[in-house]
């Protein structure tokens, strides 16, 4: 039976060595380039006609724009509008990465913690910097809720700080674990189909069909959750209580 984790191995496609740094093009890198290209093509080609009454493609592009615009409006408010380009890029990048990963024989780079943790750290550091720029030292009052007795502060403040520091970890683990678990599960069940033969093989095959549909849901849901959490963090940074 094929190894269900084999699909996650990183292969070097074009070896490039820049001094000490290994900057080779890997399959992960290739699919990141493909994802960016697909998003760009999807949006620019979709909007070339700019019809007043949009066609299918244009309305898909407009729909994704409005989805994120509405998300920022609901979760961050008016001041969040200037961060729209970042949030929108993030959403489209993760969504297309997840969906391209659903094509057989392709590579899902969001199933690697290195990728998701980098994205989460960008969000986390960016949001923290925004909060400190906007609120200065007042930002640190974030860690001591109002109305808490001072006796509790020595316990509560470290817990708050740790809770704050755990944000990028939970953000990255959630995306990576969901993608990896789903893809592994499909592969595991796929491994049962042929060994169980023409009589028994139908059961795992049915499961695969159901799981594939479920994975499409997860692909969208995880992109959504990552983006909505980014919005909430941004909201905390902007409207510090």
């Amino acid at each position: 039976m094929a190894n269900p984790l084999e699909q996650f191995t990183i292969k070097t496609l074009v070896p490039i060595q820049l001094g000490e740094v290994n900057a080779s093009l890997t399959n992960a890198g290739l699919f990141m380039v493909l994802t960016v290209a697909a998003v760009t093509l999807f949006l620019t080609l979709g909007m070339t006609r700019r019809a007043a009454v949009p066609g299918r493609w244009q309305s898909m592009a407009e729909l994704s724009y409005e989805f994120i615009a509405g998300m920022i409006r609901d979760n961050v408010g008016n001041e969040g509008r200037r961060y729209f380009p970042f949030v929108f890029s993030l959403f489209m990048f993760i969504l297309f990465a997840n969906l391209i990963g659903m094509i057989p024989y392709s590579f899902t780079f969001t199933s690697h913690i290195a990728v998701t943790f980098t994205m989460a750290m960008v969000v986390f550091l960016g949001v923290t910097v925004i909060a400190i720029i906007r609120h200065g030292l007042h930002f640190f009052s974030f860690f001591l809720p109002t109305g808490v007795p001072m006796v509790m502060a020595p316990i509560l403040v470290p817990i708050e700080v740790l809770s704050y520091l755990s944000r990028p970890i939970s953000l990255s683990i959630r995306l990576f674990a969901n993608m990896m678990a789903g893809h592994t599960m499909i592969k595991v069940f796929a491994g049962f189909v042929i060994p169980l033969g023409i009589l028994g093989g139908w059961a795992p095959l049915t499961v695969i069909v159901a799981l594939t549909a479920f994975e499409f849901l997860v692909a969208f849901l995880q992109a959504y959750v990552f983006t909505v959490l980014t919005c909430l963090y941004l909201n905390d940074a902007i409207h510090l209580h």
């Binding site: 740790l162 809770s163 905390d236 209580h241």
Partner: protein
């Protein structure tokens, strides 16, 4: 998104934001499946622990102070993880959001303290 923001519209927006924040989950997003919810609570809990243990471990390594920082930060990390889960589950928003009335904050503190004493009894 239209650019003409008159003040009644802004007030309406404020009301909508307040409503969205009060709601159990955020606005018009897709519903979470049971699997998704389980995954989310698990990651919230584990991430708090990971951060606590990592900080404790590296402080110990750096300062050469036996297991003490690890022990302390393990419990703090556990507290942070439980707090994360509590926040996620109660829908305050998956982040420290302290505009909420004091009772919810106090109850979260109480559950934290309770859980910590439980941990200590068991451990």
């Amino acid at each position: 998104m239209s650019d003409d923001k008159t003040s009644p519209e802004l007030q309406q927006l404020d009301a909508r934001i307040a409503k969205a924040r009060k709601g159990s989950d955020q606005g018009n997003g897709p519903e979470m499946s049971g699997f998704g919810a389980a995954m989310r609570y698990a990651t919230e809990l584990v991430s708090g622990l990971i951060v606590g243990v990592a900080i404790g471990y590296f402080l110990d390594k750096w300062l050469d102070t036996g297991p003490w920082f690890l022990v302390v930060f393990f419990f703090l990390g556990a507290g942070a993880g439980i707090m994360n889960v509590y926040r996620t589950a109660s829908g305050i928003g998956m982040a420290p959001g302290y505009k909420d009335p004091a009772p919810t904050i106090k109850s979260s503190v109480v559950t934290d303290a309770d859980n910590k004493t439980d941990d200590k009894k068991r451990g």
